[in-house]
Symmetry: D2
Subunit: 368 residues, 4 copies
């Protein structure tokens, strides 16, 4: 399993098997090389933890769970709070939630790990992050950063399976190295352009500058709009796609960009804004109901939370941001494609099915 | 007690006694008349519920609680979700949180009641609102609107006294009529410009146009900056004020404006932006650590959540907004003054005291 | 010539000849049908006027001019001022200018025609719009809406060829019907992804809803990023592209969306935001120096400038915006492609050349 | 005359005589000391130039001019373009114009001097700044920063008296030292809360940190709302105020903050946002028609326009911004008061009068 040591994947029944990522099938995206794992964890210090919550009716328990938690942890909880990282937020379409965004915009910093869950569990995830921060020895007020997508096509969202323990566990087990994609963690119940998707990640290395990592929770778009490497393949794949009305025009994409390039908050916000351009390459038109919300942070531009007086900063000049922007757009496009390629069919609540993308057919359509 | 029937005020020991509001002492603010209760509940249909959480060490239980929940409920939970109200958000200084703000900005609507709590309880309050919405028969994803201030000077925030039950109760007991101010609900542990404050409210009636109601959670500013009716009285009152460094430059003000004037989201956002001008009259300079975040909603501009096709709207023209802006600024100034006038001294965690404002001295300074 | 009666195209020497639009060559973009002219003028009442300023050294006059003015006129100057249209602005990357944007954001209306020029002529274009408004009998203060791109690769921008007369003429000659694209008006000196471009337009008709028209001033992107119908063709065309360092990472795209669908300012802003997604499909990553700035207005949601009291509005519900968003993204993609397809090679100041796109090669690469 | 050497004040007839500033009459605002001149020019390197355009009908020429230009020049035109300063913009109410604001928000820098004029002359002022920049040897595209207020109560705005020469002259004659206030430069025809106003300035010195200077073009508010030192004096002065309907609810305030404290763009934007709080202290509710638009820049945080690679920055930590915010609010309040105190009665177009504030009566009302 590609999920890496330490990532608990709780699948009680019917869990899908891993499949190949886009690049393993020969697809490339843009001119810049990937990092070692082609994942957000290529940015030094960044760890990811998934807890998948997968429930089927068993004797004495009904209800179907296809949900979970994904935690992106750029540093220890206490360390991050005491030395926040420069960060920015961008909203392409705001039909969703990223808690903490108001503070990020004002102070320009990320103070807590980023937790991704399904919509109805945002509050309890935020609550769990407060717990974790207090436990880490921070006796202060905490404004957690929690993003969401809506997995109600596959998950019985009225059951709210995710608990504080799941969130704490996702934080605790977060590790570096390869990152599980597709049907895992917060991505367990997510669907993109009619096909099963969920978590996707990719990275780019800019020589002499640094590494850019992107992780997405993919749950957006309409089947007929799917594009792979820019090619409109959706119409040829509609027959195998879910076309539930609630999915067609809804969904969301929550995107996280981390980089060890020293950038300030304004620059991070500029990076975050580019995630939407990567989504557009894959077919997104940011539908009315889509929460397309993006956060970017710089792991190397940090200052003590209580700093006063004058501080020194080292930053990349704006004039050198061009390749960084390209890296964000390319990695975003690849991360969406990975989420779609890796995710296998999932059947969920009410018998709803979300078929895995017919990757062979895609490759054929691409003429490879 | 001025708090009205149905508002549970849980004070186990040492609760302060009510005092007079600014207007009862002869102070007026601006040219427009107030509503019947001079409260946000003057807007038809609007209800407010406070749950005060007040804990002192007793046999077998340690810890000091000076916190609570205030719920502003413009309509039933299910009714509001199914027929959201036009709404807008403005941020004067974003060192705080108002969950749901991203969606309000995109869709321009308020879908849930507004809950105010202390910072570390935002997540669980949001979680409780999801519960309440599911219980109300809405089987959909919900993005609650929860605002906060930091009451850590008086409350042992590491204990996180507020529970889901408190939030649910605040929603359930919300009623119209007079609104308790000062040391009540979410305002229990809040401090403003060195004096005990908390909840404040006021309203204005614009003949032939409608009613504007403001409710604030006041927890901002430095003692020497306090202004009453614009008069700088802070320096004369510093001796009786709390001058804890953590309070001096921090704090926040979460402001809610409701009106039955038919306004769209853009117009609501313009109203929300005026709350900051009312705070400025009372001495706010929106310090670095202050979460000065404001929401405005129009209770009469509503549409079915799932509306499609063409809809008709009746709106107040922008050219008639002048008096509405004045009403927001005046009511905000009065609400802050009320919060300060009504709140009596509270002693809290670590023996910290927050003295009630010496209102007699203020009146004397005003030369009345 | 496709430019239509009444559009003065001043080309003194060496003007390129018209070429075919993308759709004439069999390319389609999205599922929705185009309007009659596949142009922004398909929106009833909308007129476009181009004045091309083309100068070559002749006896007694030196200097090379490759610039001009494009005016988009949704109604008569006086009529528009007296009954503004609902409008919104979105900025993908703000390294550019759209005057009037602050007012559009506050009041949510468009009061003047939209004029596009080269960067150094924005001020005089705005000045000319004030003139035109005063001449039209409006004795009030006017805040014009002027957008720009930088044509300094081909035009001697220090000469500032555009005069007030050119702007007034563009307003005066604006007509409906087919719209000249490519090397015309403000597009005369513009370059996109290494190839000559300039003005591009397209439209979509949504049955029972209305028409969406897009007009772009295209001057953005790097050669190796060019995508046609999503296909990355840039690398195969780099040999024939201009690769000047100043062009590679700079440029801009000013985009205008007009529609007769009744939308309010918030909704118009949502439309404007989608233009960036169309640019992304063609290869934009919104480089650091790119002014990617978009305006959308609804020609049917108008109110008297001095309206007071209550007004009635008819609007499309947000829930029906999905196809409108698709129309904006598809029409934007097509408009960029048109600008590239129609524009022929131009040689300009300092002997700089901007080659027309090798459309035959593109068609070949697309496998048609 | 207090206007200083080098500031041409063209008053052909009826020019008012200088009066005392607020502080000269014993009024103080806030705890921080002023700079030497209590003016924006206390920030090292900052110069101000006024050109007053004052026209009365004479033989052969009709028309009444009460307008002008004020230029705020933080460094030489070429030097500023080549080494822009960190800058931010904030909009309290956007019924106005500040050209260049989109670029300032994206790049976070100020590249040109700031020019203030009356609304209908913004375009030609911008055009003149382009001229000045080209003349200074910059052969590039320039996006000028021009702000405005509407002086149509006193000036015949249809005549558009301001010429390119006036703007160039204001730039050329800008000097440091004392700054003329009231009826001068762009302030010549401006009115505030029913009384003649115009230019106001003030500064604060924060020991060991730096100097904060504010310059305002004051043209806002309704007579009955005037507050001096927070005291509501408007109702007592209404008899002597202009109560033209067009003035009552309109007007604007364009505010400029400059500081030599090293701040980045995000921090400058935070400063700019505080200007509105100072206006509120003087009675502003940011009426519907008011363009309350503010810019802040840091003269010491500069980088080469074409910088690439890594750069080092020295910044004040956010935790030390508290006194800086206070300085902005206090200096703004004082600058408004200065504009009102210094400006004497002006009669203008159509015989409209704008009476100077009855300062003696104000002092009496303040109980001094």
């Amino acid at each position: 399993v590609r999920t890496g040591v330490g990532r608990t994947i709780r699948r009680m029944t019917g869990a899908p098997v891993p499949r190949l990522r886009a690049r393993e099938l020969g697809l490339a995206f843009g001119a810049h090389p990937t990092g070692r794992f082609n994942a957000i964890t290529d940015v030094p210090g960044v760890r990811v933890g998934h807890v998948t919550v997968w429930r089927d009716p068993v004797l004495g328990h009904d209800g179907v769970g296809r949900t979970g938690v994904t935690a992106i942890v750029p540093d220890g909880v206490a360390e991050l709070f005491r030395r926040p990282m420069a960060a920015g937020v961008a909203v392409l379409n705001g039909a969703g939630e990223l808690t903490g965004s108001i503070e990020i915009r004002e102070w320009g910093v990320l103070e807590t790990p980023i937790v991704l869950v399904s919509t109805n569990n945002v509050g309890r995830a935020a609550d769990a992050v407060v717990d974790a921060t207090l436990v880490a020895g921070i006796d202060e007020v905490v404004i957690p950063v929690v993003g969401e997508c809506d997995d109600s096509w596959l998950d019985d969202i009225t059951r709210r399976w995710v608990t504080s323990d799941h969130v704490r566990e996702a934080l605790d087990i977060a590790i570096d190295g390869p990152v599980a994609e597709g049907v895992v963690g917060a991505g367990t119940g997510m669907v993109t352009m009619g096909h099963k998707a969920g978590i996707g990640t990719a990275s780019r290395v800019l020589d002499g500058v640094g590494t850019v990592g992107v992780l997405l929770l993919c749950n957006f778009g309409a089947p007929e709009q799917l594009r792979v490497q820019g090619r409109l393949v959706g119409p040829d794949l509609v027959a195998g796609a879910t076309t539930a009305p609630t999915l067609d025009r809804g969904g969301s994409c929550l995107g996280v960009v981390l980089t060890d390039i020293p950038l300030d908050a304004r620059q991070c916000e500029r990076l975050a804004r580019r995630v939407g351009l990567g989504l557009a390459r894959t077919g997104s038109v940011a539908h009315h109901g889509s929460g397309d919300i993006f956060l970017a942070a710089s792991t190397t531009n940090r200052a003590d939370r209580d700093a006063e007086g004058f501080v020194e900063r080292r930053l990349l000049a704006d004039g050198s941001l061009g390749p960084v922007f390209e890296a964000v757009v390319d990695a975003t496009e690849e991360a969406v494609t990975n989420a779609l390629f890796v995710a296998d069919t999932v059947t969920g609540v009410g018998g709803h099915a979300s078929p895995g993308l017919d990757v062979d057919r895609v490759i054929e359509l691409l003429g490879r």
